[in-house]
């Protein structure tokens, strides 16, 4: 069956863009939108995909990653859909893309001004684990009543001696709204603070869009005596590239049974390895 450019009809795209503008105007606030069904399942990135499809134009260059990889099943699937409905160019290089759609990671290469990072969001409500009702969490946000979010962290410290929230660690945006940053590792939370690019977050099933505009204050929730901590890879070195100070995947060598680590952002790793190789080649 024949389809419109970027799958959605133009009325739908316009509605999504309008709600996106509202989200940018109120950083961290979850703006409801109608959320269309897509040929990709709810919960498989339809929020991010609707943002990308509503924004993409013929001149755009798109990068899609999942779990830090351009080749992960979800990334391949989504990229295929974007390309088959738009024909736009794609890249694996973060710095070349105008729109980067990602699930669970913010790339290691910092965003540049005018780049858009679209994050796929399963659960946009950071207070959902303390309050199941949507109408009540809406009131809590309206009243800036975030004691529940802090008490949850406090209880974790009481029980385990440290905060146990792992990925999707809540942040306070622009000093106003507590926001779920999508299930990115804590390692990526600081990248949201005063970012040069525009970060859009889309939750298709929950029908919400939220945003972190460029140069916005984003602070991970913490206490003075229990500061925010990122995942610790300080003593780990990437077996493939020798990189350190990046988010790592933990793998097991099937032959030796040994645990080893590899850079999670695969395109960044390739870029670094190629730079290294060029450097060596020039020296010879």
């Amino acid at each position: 069956m024949s389809q419109n450019f970027a799958f959605l009809d133009e009325h739908s795209k316009k509605e999504i863009r309008r709600q996106t503008l509202k989200a940018i105007a109120i950083p961290g606030y979850q703006v409801p939108f109608a959320s269309r069904e897509l040929p990709i399942a709810r919960g498989w990135g339809t929020g991010g995909l609707q943002l990308t499809l509503s924004l993409v134009g013929q001149e755009d260059i798109v990068k899609v990653i999942d779990q830090g990889s351009d080749e992960s099943v979800n990334a391949v699937n989504i990229r295929n859909l974007i390309q088959s409905t738009t024909g736009v160019e794609d890249t694996i290089h973060t710095s070349e893309a105008t729109i980067i759609q990602s699930r669970h990671r913010i790339p290691e290469v910092p965003l540049k001004p005018f780049q858009i990072l679209v994050l796929q969001v399963p659960t946009p409500e950071p207070l959902r684990s303390v309050e199941p009702s949507e109408r009540k969490t809406k009131i809590l946000h309206g009243d800036k009543e975030y004691s529940g979010a802090y008490i949850k962290l406090f209880e974790q410290i009481m029980r385990h001696g440290h905060i146990t929230d792992d990925a999707d660690y809540p942040v306070l945006v622009n000093g106003r709204y507590v926001m779920a940053p999508s299930p990115i590792p804590r390692f990526d939370n600081p990248k949201m603070n005063h970012n040069d690019g525009l970060i859009l977050l889309g939750a298709g099933r929950e029908k919400k869009i939220h945003a972190v505009p460029p140069y916005t204050d984003v602070a991970s929730l913490a206490f003075e005596d229990y500061p925010f901590e990122v995942e610790d890879f300080s003593d780990k070195v990437c077996r493939e590239s020798g990189l350190s100070g990046v988010y790592m995947d933990e793998l097991v060598d099937e032959e030796t049974g040994e645990t080893y680590y590899m850079t999670n952002d695969t395109s960044y790793m390739l870029e670094k390895m190629n730079e290294e190789e060029d450097l060596h080649a020039n020296h010879r």
Partner: protein, 354 residues
């Protein structure tokens, strides 16, 4: 540029898609969409209802592509629906104008206009019929299919509720002529409106609507069972008005199931006389179980009882949509190793500090 990305993922996905698409042809013969359309009417009815997309041809086509998998067929229909501009709404349609094909009341032995059984599996014995192992030449010659179904006067089928209203046992609610909301164009915000609830329920997954309706009447809500005042199945004429000065245009008949469920009055004061209250169900196609369950949930959401999940609009409406629930449950199969690494980090942190 010595190092390049590994393309293994894309190839593996491509092969998986090929295996999936060709599996049915490897195992057997292809089937015409037309055969699905005539042989699998109840499945088509369920798919159209859950997809909120009334088109028998597209539904049959989706069922073929989904190999009869309900959630996949609904998903295909919904995704296709997203590509279609929605330009018009129908004008108000009155179910009293339905071309009734089946109409029964459980509340009276006989009703004005008569009980009309129509075609229904209700009275069959559920014994596997060996005759169906063979392909039949045509319908059984025991009845006349032109005469039997229409031996009643369509103009003389008053609603059962009219009789109770005359006697003062049912008090008609004031009409609400607010423009209905459309949850596919503007997402539900809570507290929900009745039009949002009815739309959410009629698009709900058949199994989910049935289960929640069952929980409501079995013990967690009204805990008593309603009486079906009237169950109607028939062709409902639908019109649109293009506002071109020529009035309404008839665009077609939609098969629908309508339920007036007579409910116990929960809001009544002790001194007041007892009245019948109505829970309403209306769904695409002949989907009687779903329509009845919808009428139960319409009532429980209209008259919420404190602490009852099936009268909490958020609990019911957020969880009965097929595409949403199956999508989120199935996404758990996707890779989650980045977040799992983060969790491992937290767990190890706990062990080290002890």
């Amino acid at each position: 540029m010595g190092y390049v990305a590994v393309k293994g993922g894309a190839n593996a996905i491509n092969n998986s898609v090929l295996m999936y698409k060709n599996r049915r042809l490897v195992d057997g013969e292809d089937i015409e969409v037309e055969k699905i359309k005539t042989n699998m009417r109840p499945l088509i009815n369920q798919v159209m209802s859950e997809a909120s997309f009334y088109d028998r041809d597209t539904a049959a086509f989706a069922i073929k592509q989904a190999e009869g998998n309900m959630e996949e067929a609904v998903f295909l229909m919904r995704a296709h629906r997203s590509t279609l501009p929605r330009l018009y709404y129908s004008t108000i349609t009155d179910t009293r104008e339905m071309f009734v094909e089946r109409r029964v009341s459980a509340s009276f032995k006989d009703i004005p206009g008569g009980q009309i059984l129509g075609a229904s599996p209700d009275f069959t014995h559920r014994l596997l019929d060996d005759a169906l192992k063979e392909v039949a030449d045509g319908p059984s010659q025991e009845i006349d299919y032109k005469e039997i179904p229409f031996n009643y006067d369509l103009n003389k089928l008053p609603k059962v509720i009219d009789y109770l209203e005359k006697e003062g046992l049912f008090i008609r609610e004031p009409e609400n002529n607010d423009e209905p909301d459309d949850i596919t164009k503007k997402t539900i915000e809570f507290p929900s409106t009745r039009s949002q609830r009815l739309q959410g329920l009629t698009r709900g997954q058949t199994g989910a609507v049935t289960s929640l309706g069952y929980a409501e009447i079995r013990g967690y809500g009204i805990a008593s069972h309603p009486n079906i005042g009237e169950c109607r199945v028939g062709q409902q004429p639908v019109c649109v008005d293009f506002e071109d000065g020529y009035g309404e245009y008839f665009i077609g008949d939609y098969e629908m199931t309508e339920i007036d469920g007579f409910m116990p009055d929960l809001d009544e004061d002790q001194d007041e006389d007892m009245h019948i209250k109505i829970g309403y169900g209306l769904v695409f196609g002949q989907n009687e179980t779903k329509a009845i369950a919808m009428s139960v949930l319409d009532y429980s959401l209209e008259h919420p009882k404190n602490g009852v999940a099936t009268s909490d609009d958020e609990f019911v409406l957020y969880h009965i949509d097929s595409v949403e629930s199956t999508g989120f449950i199935s996404h758990l199969k996707l890779p989650h190793y980045v977040t799992f690494q983060s969790k491992l980090d937290r767990m190890r942190q706990g062990r080290e500090s002890k």
